[in-house]
Symmetry: D2
Subunit: 314 residues, 4 copies
Amino acid sequence: MHAIGVDIGGTKIAVGVVDEDGKVLAQVRRETNADDVAHIDKAIADACNELIKEHEVGAIGLAAAGFVSPDRTSVNFAPNIAWREYPLAAKVAELVHADMPIVVENDANAAGWAEFRFGAGRDATDMLMLTVGTGLGGAVISERELVRGKWGMAAEVGHMRVVPEGHYCGCGHEGCWEQYASGSALERDAQHAAVARVDQAAHLLELAGGDPGEIRGKMVTEAAQEGDPLSIELLATLGRWIGEGSASVAALLDPELIVIGGGVGAAGELLLGPVRRGFEAQLSAMGHRPVATIELAHHGNEAGIVGAADLARR
Amino acid sequence: MHAIGVDIGGTKIAVGVVDEDGKVLAQVRRETNADDVAHIDKAIADACNELIKEHEVGAIGLAAAGFVSPDRTSVNFAPNIAWREYPLAAKVAELVHADMPIVVENDANAAGWAEFRFGAGRDATDMLMLTVGTGLGGAVISERELVRGKWGMAAEVGHMRVVPEGHYCGCGHEGCWEQYASGSALERDAQHAAVARVDQAAHLLELAGGDPGEIRGKMVTEAAQEGDPLSIELLATLGRWIGEGSASVAALLDPELIVIGGGVGAAGELLLGPVRRGFEAQLSAMGHRPVATIELAHHGNEAGIVGAADLARR
Amino acid sequence: MHAIGVDIGGTKIAVGVVDEDGKVLAQVRRETNADDVAHIDKAIADACNELIKEHEVGAIGLAAAGFVSPDRTSVNFAPNIAWREYPLAAKVAELVHADMPIVVENDANAAGWAEFRFGAGRDATDMLMLTVGTGLGGAVISERELVRGKWGMAAEVGHMRVVPEGHYCGCGHEGCWEQYASGSALERDAQHAAVARVDQAAHLLELAGGDPGEIRGKMVTEAAQEGDPLSIELLATLGRWIGEGSASVAALLDPELIVIGGGVGAAGELLLGPVRRGFEAQLSAMGHRPVATIELAHHGNEAGIVGAADLARR
Amino acid sequence: MHAIGVDIGGTKIAVGVVDEDGKVLAQVRRETNADDVAHIDKAIADACNELIKEHEVGAIGLAAAGFVSPDRTSVNFAPNIAWREYPLAAKVAELVHADMPIVVENDANAAGWAEFRFGAGRDATDMLMLTVGTGLGGAVISERELVRGKWGMAAEVGHMRVVPEGHYCGCGHEGCWEQYASGSALERDAQHAAVARVDQAAHLLELAGGDPGEIRGKMVTEAAQEGDPLSIELLATLGRWIGEGSASVAALLDPELIVIGGGVGAAGELLLGPVRRGFEAQLSAMGHRPVATIELAHHGNEAGIVGAADLARR
């Protein structure tokens, strides 16, 4: 059975038809307005209706950043869209010209599910997905099932605390993992290094036109690949935090596989090497257990579409 | 179906017949020698044979501290008994005068399962069990299933890192949760407080005959219940660490219930109040989610027997 | 001998004639432009010339935020004014209509010296001054002498590290003391608490018109004085950090007195109590040593003028 | 003028005649009993009397581990000898057959003074001495004067807190610098690494006969010098902590020189390189200030004798 997956961002949505092998057969995009929830409903439905005309589909999965109700019908809270206890599935159903199951999923869960079903985790039963982007998202697969938690809020890995009284987080707490293991953390660390260690930051500062505040994560990756020692160190620090935090998750969940998604994957081994070393250095009972495999995600931007579609047809 | 549960400690084993409601119908105990694994096999089998004579049982569950193989047949490593890749189930089966399934379970998992099935978690679907004793053990129940992990090593919660470069742990790492959230941590903190803050420690020192090194966890609980401010503070610190660490676990697993087992439960609200406050103070998305219930375990010492028996018959 | 003290801020200067008892006999103010260093020279000199006409003075002391050369003639770097290796004393001397010694001092050192000579430290020989404002400044008096360090940069207490990998600091490092013990830290902690613990922050949010980002330090002090539990807790946390960091300084310098200056002093015992408790809780060898006295500064805004004037005539 | 310096250890004393250039002209040793303070007095006096017979000396300096009174007459508390408010100078004076000034000094201060006057700090005015041994001792020289503090307890650098809720310390607190920057820390870290990272510890374990608990600091230095990666890493971690903590001290005191004494100096650049890198990485205002020189102490075991003698004749 084919299904539609919808990846709902703050300013645009991407909608695709996904076959049973996780292939995206067709895709359309729409621009949206984060403050106008009715408009988003309509944009989603329009895109679905357009695709339904030409494709036979049996279900629709909606992936959104936010807290999704455990019955997969509503978004209880979203950071970037004005949804509060919003019955998204029902709202979209009213506007879709066909009767089929519509479910809502957290976007990081959808991306993790795509990797589990059709990507790096295809052969795994127990897996941790980390999406290292602006923040740090995650998904947990345990014995081939997505772990959603009692209230649909599991896998908020970015808000595990890794440093008591550490970096401030937008969530109001301090020391959250995503403040150490995200693209934003990389960027901020680079900007600070350019102030405290100005000599070593010459290469980065050149890329940023001389202004520490203009350094971007991409520049760090670029400079590191050109051999810049400070940038290599910054990626290694990011990797170490991803790996060390993963060791804490492994103490709790014992996954066989950890999949790293998100833009930082572009750094390749400059990131993955330190992730693996940090993981092994902190893994409990090292020497008395197998060590989980750590690898990059296979899917890129379409992971949300693929995962949402596949979760909808289950 | 009745089943036998065996709780295997370093120096003794407890064996009981457990009915379908989690009630222990009969129980026998044996002394053992941690270095003589063959003797332990025999002690277990003897006790089982004795009970089998008088009770109809359909399965045997063996609960042991250590890393249990994911197929539940062997102990790969145990901290207190000389088991290394030891096929415990098969060894015991050879000596038992009846043919029935025999499975091995981690003891903390068994205790957590007992709470889930017949105790504090009877009505829960997603639960975290924390056994706060010498160390910090745990069990995770997700959608009514015990989470074992790929290699049977899930729920080693005590070795999640909560303080980078924090207290040394016997596992060779630093900052493990169990170094802050266990009976040993309480004892050690009390002993240190009696050195650094000698005036405030007068009550505790009196109970310990004047020697900081002789202060025991029980004395702290006793003194706290008598109103000693330092002891109340020490229990509050222990509780805060239990609660704050639980908030990190909740970010990952979103349980509805957290059950606190182990001897420290004797402190009652002097511990549970700070656990709850620490949990709420650190819980991500507080205000946008329900807050998990935190309560004491219902079972005491027999939890291992009950849980192992029940897991064996599944 | 009377002397002139000049307190040079980013947008204005305050100039006063100070007698030998530390009394300000006359004072004038001028507005300035932080980017126009020649204009600042002129504003200083004009104000001095005006005062010199009516008062007999023997020296001029210039207090400025920044790194002052050890010979007290120049500002090597200033965060808020465009001075870089700037010979401030010579520049001002050219414009002053009288021949007298002119010296430059760091503003926190000047304020500390005012307290030592004429304020809370009048009877002390070994003293630590902490100025808790936007940042955390300091001054160290050892055996009645101001400790300037080899390059004039001593007493940058705000940049001692108190939390490895802690809060980011404008200096480019992480975990600096001033990120935990300053008015800015109080404000930021209050703003974060209003996000993470919204129920408890009702009083503060009301004062801030409902916007966490509009909470100010003064509101916390005000709310605390009205009994708001969260605000009392926030001041206690600030006080604890001041006290705990002071214990580290005391391990190094063993002062008899710690003077707390800056606007947060308005909180009175709600701050000082936690400062003292934090200090005693962390003071090394407690019980084998006297405990330093901790009190509020006697001087307010004019401390820079008084201290600079007095240091100039020595 | 020549003077006698006495270095009083827990089980033996070393007594020497020191000339004005810091040279030890003659030396005698005595065994002592830490619990019998009268016997220690006598041993000191006997040795002094023996030396006085053959050398003209004008003063005696007694260096001891412990808290020395600010008037330099008494030991208020010693960790290893049964002195409590003990008037050591007067007790020894009664038994010495000559009338001359006798002063008591803290042993780390004496060692630091020896370096300042006759060793690595000969040309310095502002210096920090760190004695990295079982613990971490220190001495502070500010503008050519030893900083004693109000109550003689300055320079207890080892008990500055560097990690909140970090390693336990014998002083009763947590996170003291000496738990990260001492020979004991090196040893303990090596022992833990041999448990958590057993593969990497093969070389160290071989040196220790296979038992992690038997690894000693010397073995780490030896293995590092033979190229063992784990041992090099362990020394680098020790060095980093020495350097990073020194950066905090430099924020407060701005010394031009930091002298590293104690047995760990044997590791040479394997230690000093990381010390310097850690210092520069954490030094506040790097780029706007000169960077202090960091070097090894020139004196070895006789530093206490030399410093105590020289301090006595001042």
